[in-house]
Subunit: 225 residues, 2 copies
DNA sequence: TAAAAACTTACGATAGCTTTAAATGAATGT
DNA sequence: ACATTCATTTAAAGCTATCGTAAGTTTTTA
């Protein structure tokens, strides 16, 4: 699952930065726009999974923007959350009729927003029946149950080992460089040495047997097919 | 799907009749109450799918009534719409905090009300297709009766413990992250620490035995199969 | 055969979980 | 109304699997 893309639309630059920062921090891919027209332009290119839209904006307001977006095939399935000031006229909430999937009242606590964003993306995701199990070579992993199975026998792997194996098995045969591995299993900001990877590979080999994970010297590792 | 049941609560007899007539006409099964206490009594027996609740009522107001209803397991999943007079103090809308799912401002056009009712019932229908009894591994839970049964012996669990177990058992084997657990058992906005989950897990383990709920370090918990 | 890369082992730090206990708040009985 | 019991949350301390690193060894490559 790639990182989810969120488009944030508000005419107030401060809010844009504040919310943008907080959502980015949680690992989402964020773009911003400060009015309805821009929002539509950006949305066309960026193809966000979710749009957070201030209702009160000069020129084209949130509801009008939402309405137009809903009529664009490309954005048909995009989720839209309205941002409304508490105390605004609540006929606003006719927003649901304009096609919003949810809404939040200002003032907004970042935690609340993030949790709402997660919730609504999850709701969407759950309708799409994700595949959570991969299999290759008599070895299979089930992300949902966090289990590895070899020749019919199930094992528990610690988190890092599991993530590492999952990565390698996500494309059996493909060589993953150490850089890619660090990025994917440990995440961009963490700095751990290369030896750390070796050790985790070793632990996996202990549990899997030496046949499955192959070293490609000077390049990286792969799950053998 | 049988016809949906709606409970209408307002202290003004005229409104009650007016709205009642219009909703009935659309094929819903309607009961009425003219104050908070009655509403709760009727709700217990009638088990409506949706309650439309006037905020301004003598004695027990709508928000208080709503609050009490939300604490009754039997009505936990019932949808509640608030009726508020336009121009009323909007701190009212804290109504959402009291657990309302939506609200409508007076004066109300029947058409608008009916369309809102339809919309919100639809929303519910799509997210809720839960079986009220789940079984796995000799343990079963019955949501309707709020009972847990282990090896033929029935126990009653406190609310949080029950909800937690119900979540884990909703997909046996699947690992639920702490985030998902908090979101689902405690609700998006509530802030309780991670330790709280641990403790409830512990209580469940005390009652179930240590075999059923498994910790997946760094990830979450699951109901073992 | 020298240099580079990867492997192995073992150890120390710590994140993350468990446990205990105690405070607060809600529900129930007298 | 008061006391009592039970549910929930928080705080604090303990525990351990997991993680990261160091350092020496082996294998590969040029």
């Amino acid at each position: 699952m790639s990182t989810e893309k969120i488009l944030l639309v508000d005419d107030d630059q401060d809010i844009l930065e504040f919310l943008g920062y907080n959502i980015k921090k949680e690992g989402f891919d964020v773009e911003t726009a400060s009015n309805g027209k821009d929002a539509i332009e950006v949305a066309k290119k960026f193809k966000p999974d979710l749009i957070i839209l201030d209702v009160m904006m000069p020129e084209m307001d949130g509801m009008e923007t939402c309405h137009q977006m809903r009529n664009m095939p490309m954005l048909k399935d995009t989720l839209i959350i309205f941002l409304t000031a508490r105390g605004e006229d609540y006929s606003q909430i006719a927003g649901f009729d304009a096609g919003a999937d949810d809404y939040i009242t200002k003032p907004i606590k970042p935690r609340v927003l993030v949790s709402k964003v997660r919730a609504i993306l999850r709701r969407k995701g759950s309708t799409q029946e994700e595949e959570s199990a991969i299999e290759a070579n008599g070895v299979s992993i089930d992300r949902e149950r966090y289990l590895m199975k070899k020749d019919g026998v199930e094992f528990n792997l610690p988190k890092k080992e599991f993530e590492l194996l999952a990565l390698l098995m996500s494309k059996p045969g493909k060589v993953f460089t150490r850089e890619v591995i660090l990025d994917s299993v440990w995440g961009g900001e963490v700095v751990v040495g290369d030896r750390t990877i070796d050790v985790h590979i070793r632990k996996l080999r202990e549990k899997l047997g030496d046949l499955y994970i192959k070293t490609v010297k000077g390049v990286g590792y792969k799950f053998e097919v």
